[in-house]
Amino acid sequence: MTKEEKAKKIKEIHNKAKIKLKELEEKRKKIVRNYIKELEDQKIDAIRASILKDK
């Protein structure tokens, strides 16, 4: 295998991995955001409950 062929092959492997990683990172972002959203909803519910209790 020549140097050029090696470089090309490595680039292909790298690009393939990059695409897969990108998809997985998006998936993870979604999980994290959902979790943060859940926490925020819990906080809002708690505030709402405390306001109702005060009334």
Binding site: M1, K3, K6, K9, L21, R28, K29, I36
Partner: protein, 304 residues
Amino acid sequence: MDNKTEKKYLKENLDEQKNPEDIKKFIEDVELLGGHDDLVEEARQRYTKVVEEAGGNSGELDKRTLEVDGEISAINEETKKEIGEIESLPTTEVAVEVPPDSPNVDIKLDEEKQKIEKIKKLDEDMDVLFNQLASSLPGQIKNFVDSPEYKKLLELNQKRNVEEKSLFEIYERYTKLNPEHHRGFSTQNFDNYGSQYEEDMKYAGASEDTLKRFKNFVEKFRKPELEARKDYDDTYTRDINTPKWNFENELKAKSGEIFGEDRYAADEYNGKYYNLYQEKFSEAQKKIIPDKELYINTVGTIYS
């Protein structure tokens, strides 16, 4: 990029990360890069803190992302292995010639040309911005250094140093007499330990007059010094850090336009300009305020 510059660059990158998912990505990237275990540890702590601040638990979040984390890690490992295998293959010296009329080559050349043109344009834009920022600073420096007020400050500072040194020696002798309470007679610690120094002096039998002089010393020199120290930090933020941050943001926006999703190319490009800019700013910084302590002492003297 040497290890020190790389660490500095990564640290700044970490400081900008506010979201748990971005911090996680940072940890992965830096682990893959290797050689920065301290930053990985710091990033882990920040990750835990950010999640906790949002009212959550990093352990719980890790559980939810466990599967994806595993897949990411497996891909990284697999890629590393595949690349390692290719690299370890023997290299033949015979080059395969690509026909010059190959359509693939034409497309590649065309893309390359476009990129070069875009980068050239980006270079020009950056140079303009860079020169504007860098050239405005030396003007301020010159005015500052040439001003009669600054020369007067230097003169006064020399006088003040003589006076302060002898005072300092006197007070230091007193505070050292109390081994239990002595906390190191430091010019930096007056805001925290001023009253304790007084106690140390009383313990050592300092007269009322000496104590009075000590209090005057604090009022006349130490308090203005603390104010000057704050003033210096504010000036530094305004004249050095803020333009630097603005420049970095511009740089990121521009490189984002050019390189899009190609984060590695964008990072490499940002790194190059950041280093150039950092060098210029370091030079400018040395000239604008040649020495922090000198500035603080001289401004402190004038204020008093």
